[in-house]
Amino acid sequence: MDKSDSDTCYLELSKDPIRFEAVNQLTNVFFDDSNKDVFAVRSGGVMGVVVKNAESESKYLDFRMEDHGSVLSIKFSPDHKILAVQRGTNSVEFMNFDGTALDTEYSQTCKKNCNILGFVWSQVNEISFITDHGIELYMVIPDKKSLKHLKTTSATVQWFVWCNSNKLALLASHHGSHLLPVIIKNGTTNKLNKVDTEPGKMALERDITLATLYGTPAVLILRHQNGPNAAEVHVHTLNGPGMSPVKSHVLKLGLTGRFAINIEDDIILVHHQASRSSVIFDIALPAENDGTVQYHSPAAFARSIKPASITLPGLRDNEIHYCELYSPNWVVFQPNIIIDAKLGCLWHIKLCLPELCENIADLRKCTQVMLKRTEGKTVLLNVLLKYIKQAKPKFDVLQESFNHINYIYRDFIEAELQPNIGTSPGAPIVPKNLSLHRVLVDQDDMMNEIFQKLDPEKDLPKIEWLSLSYLASLSECSISAQYNLTELLVTCLARQKKFTVLQQMLQYGAIADSKPLACLLLSLGNMHSGASQMALDMLARMDAREEIQEVLLSDGQVLSALKLADKTANPRKFLSVAEQSGDLTLFHSVLIHLKNNPDFAGAFQKDERLMNFIQQYNNMFDKNKKSENTLNQ
């Protein structure tokens, strides 16, 4: 594979794989996908058993076990205190474990004429044997070194698949054409409705994947089509009434051959061995729909997993060994584990979100995918910023992306408000779909991560268009815009002298009213006469009489201001403006009006400074009188 191609690989294997002893003549390797333990059993256990945990590197167990025959299956209880080993088809042996060594064995046989197909720890002290006749549920009592039978459920089983996170077993019969999901929990078993498959359509164990997609248990069945048709994955989600499985999604792989499936961050990864590439699907993306089933195409271009290497101790120096990708030795476990038994490596497969974005050509789709990823936020913001910084971003595309972001933002706001609306005290607060809101990009994020990263000198029109698209999207989602966003837009328009645009936006209420905005508009009044009209309108809508009076007074409109004044007003303000105007009639009317108004009469008695105005008044009009008199003479 060439380098340039590897740059855009969006899947990678974990950097430090869990290393274990590779399979050889002496050593058998087992993986328990419930506890994620790797067992390396040397010579049936006599030479030692090494247990490594895939989740935490530090969990490392090393003990010896007596060899009572070849091991078929070996699993610790969830608390790692009891080890269960299956060596034959009709019994399972148990050994208590104190952290360093095993206690003596005790055993449990299954019902007569049954063959144990496998066993699962459904709870700390609870174990289920899956036999060809059904499920036998036992409670393990380690102190007494015995087991107590709890329940038997009968069913015909040829093989089964277990999903520990959902405590769900899928029992297959009739060559995999009958698939029965059973929940094993709290000492009971609960049969669900059969998975609705096309009659007679068989499935192999390796074609079944049990997973949890966006919080819902799901059964994924790989369907190889006859003839030239490409394979499909049918996703049956257990969200029907009573958790009955519903075929809700079909993933169109577009290829034939051998596949393996992983789930990472609710994305379905389908590895294709022949082409040595993987494609991804996100069932949350909109897709072709026939009313019940959605038909998905891959969310991104098919790409190989990033090349991985491990260091092997060499004779002199450590050697770097490039691992073979999509090797036939690979075994895939859920949700995101790949094991190469020959190499002795266990990897977690990871999504590289930035690279993934580069493989999704459409920004709108990319936004939707990122919004659903746990670590998607910073990546999404970077992708948006990169798109915006292009020479000619498409603003209609951006707006649709903003819509996707803001639908989630709105749901979040609504969910936040929900508890205040008043639910009955006993009612459980259902965080409905909250698990879907992995990425919340609010207005502050947009402000800090996008708008402020643009050059306010060079990108002025871009900022205007952008903030407008964002504003329109907020309005589409009925979210009120924060002041800093409107301020940005208004200053942006003012700096481009686009007052007509501003005027129209205010006229149609596209910009929300606020006192700070009104003040900003007032300060723009000297650049455009319309700005002060808009400011006054805005103040009037907020019924800010005080501020309106100030504006009118500063404009010298004493009478208009006086009409708005109530009894809390300060007479001095009006009088001083009237006096400064030099208009004697105005001064006269204002003074007489205030003096004769009972609301203010009291103030004239108390306030020394108001008396000065009366003094002033008398001087003015006395002087006039005198001059009149002189005229008359």
Binding site: P393, P461, L468, L471, A472, Q503, D537, A540, L564
Partner: protein, 462 residues
């Protein structure tokens, strides 16, 4: 009562006073003269008379030129749009038969015809010319100026509706469509999208029927463009649309996607067009200097998009085709949204005869609305007596004396009250019919009306 009516346009001429200063060369001054039937002697005489009046009156008041001249049988209106250029309109007056006996009562006659309305008409005539041909002084030479004036005004003078001119001509305002912010933001983002994706589109405006929703250009320019669109271009096109029937008949296949949009200026049929058709050039002046644009008008359903394309852009058929693709799809969804909103908003207007009539005008965005005028064709179809509108016109003339805010109330002989309020750069004229009403009652009534009709702006309080 004495009434005086306008019988028609007697003369309309444009001259440049700095030309033909020498005796015997007076004809050179005249750039355009109507009617053509007047021989050159009459033309020279009339122009000379006007020039004389102007020069004579200038000696008394050099700060402002004379605006009008009243004679018994005519009314002269003078307007100097640019230095040395004068536009003159002479109206013929007729007295109605019954007041012939008291014809000596000239004082009454004075008030019947408002000079300022006709001044506004004259100014509008200039602005409309300037929109298409630029300023007089920017013309290449006198001969080409004479030619363009001739071409323009010969057609334009036919469209002037002298008899029904009223206060609306003084506003020459714009009617905005009251839509909610969702619709508005849709329109605005649509326009932004156009401007950002096509470099050559400098500005765009968006109309729905006769109403403006978005204007990318300054109101002072928009008002002229709006008059042209609503007054001339769109009515002509609606007529042709109606002639074609509601379904397009020229579609070649019934399965071809129905296209709703088409260019009104530019190629009329994109499939068959060989040339780009006629695209007018317009000149806008709001920026302080003259800027040249191609005015491309696209219409889909009831929406009209005006694109102001930079004057130096070469218009090609391909360019129109790409625009058509883009506009057609995007417009349809916006138009349906606006139509949805409008259909929800329709409230049966309370049009009983006694209900108050108003004309509202905002000086900042030049918006007007009126329930006095029953259509916007200036057909003289009024919902209140013509006299009330005339009073409003007179009030408008007295506006400068009121200052930034004020109110005037007038009671007519036939129990009509006309109220004018102005504040915060807005004007509102209200006509009420109330018998035996007091001044306080009317004042209260107006206050109540303003409270309900003019919500959300700073106007009602004063």
């Amino acid at each position: 009562m004495v009434t005086q009516i306008i019988a028609g346009l007697k003369n309309f001429f444009i001259f440049k006073s700095s030309l033909g200063a020498n005796e015997g060369e007076e004809l050179k001054k005249i750039l355009y003269y109507y009617p053509l039937t007047d021989n050159t002697d009459v033309q020279i005489k009339n122009v000379g008379f006007v020039e004389g009046i102007i020069q004579f009156t200038d000696t008394f008041k050099p700060s402002s030129h004379v605006n009008s001249l009243h004679t018994n049988k005519t009314r002269h209106l003078y307007y100097q749009p640019e230095k040395d250029f004068w536009m003159v309109m002479v109206l013929k007056l007729n007295r109605s038969t019954k007041e012939k006996e008291i014809s000596n009562d000239t004082e009454d006659l004075e008030d019947d015809i408002e000079d300022n309305v006709y001044e506004a008409l004259l100014k509008q005539a200039y602005l409309m010319y300037r929109l298409f041909w630029g300023t007089f002084k920017d013309a290449k030479n006198t001969d080409s100026l004479k030619m363009t004036l001739e071409v323009f005004y010969r057609a334009y003078l036919q469209t002037i509706k002298l008899a029904n001119a009223d206060v609306l001509n003084m506003f020459s305002g714009i009617q905005y469509l009251p839509v909610d912010k969702h619709c508005f933001l849709k329109v605005q983002t649509f326009v932004n999208c156009l401007e950002s994706s096509y470099d050559f589109i400098e500005n765009a405006s968006f109309l729905y029927n006769d109403y403006l929703i978005w204007s990318g250009i300054e109101p002072s320019d928009m008002q002229v463009v709006y008059q042209y669109l609503v007054g001339t271009l769109l009515p002509a096109n609606v007529e042709t649309e109606l002639l074609g029937g509601s379904m397009p008949r020229n579609s070649t296949s019934p399965f071809a996607p129905l296209r709703h949009g088409r260019f009104i200026t530019g190629p009329s049929n994109l499939k068959s067009a060989k040339t780009i058709g006629k695209v007018p050039k317009v000149y806008l002046f709001a920026s302080g200097k003259s800027q040249e644009y191609h005015l491309v008008v696209y219409r889909a359903l009831s929406a009209t998009v005006c694109l102001f394309i930079k004057g130096d852009t070469e218009l090609t058929l391909d360019l129109f085709k790409t625009l058509d693709e883009d506009l057609n799809t995007k417009l349809l969804c916006i138009v349906s949204d606006i139509a949805d909103y409008c259909s929800k908003q329709i409230i049966t207007p309370n049009l009983s005869d006694s209900s108050p009539r108003y004309i509202y005008f905002n000086n900042v965005n030049l918006a007007y609305s009126s329930n006095v005028h029953l259509d916007n064709k200036q057909s003289g179809n009024l919902a209140c007596p013509k006299e009330s509108v005339r009073i409003a016109t007179e009030m408008k003339g007295n506006l400068p004396f009121l200052g930034p805010a004020g109110e005037t109330i007038v009671k007519t002989m036939n129990d009509f009250w006309v109220v004018m309020k102005t504040s915060n750069h807005r004007e509102c004229y209200i006509a009420l019919q109330q018998k035996n009403a007091s001044l306080i009652g009317i004042s209260e009534e107006v206050k109540r009306l303003c409270d309900t009709e003019l919500k959300g702006i700073f106007f009602k309080q004063i």
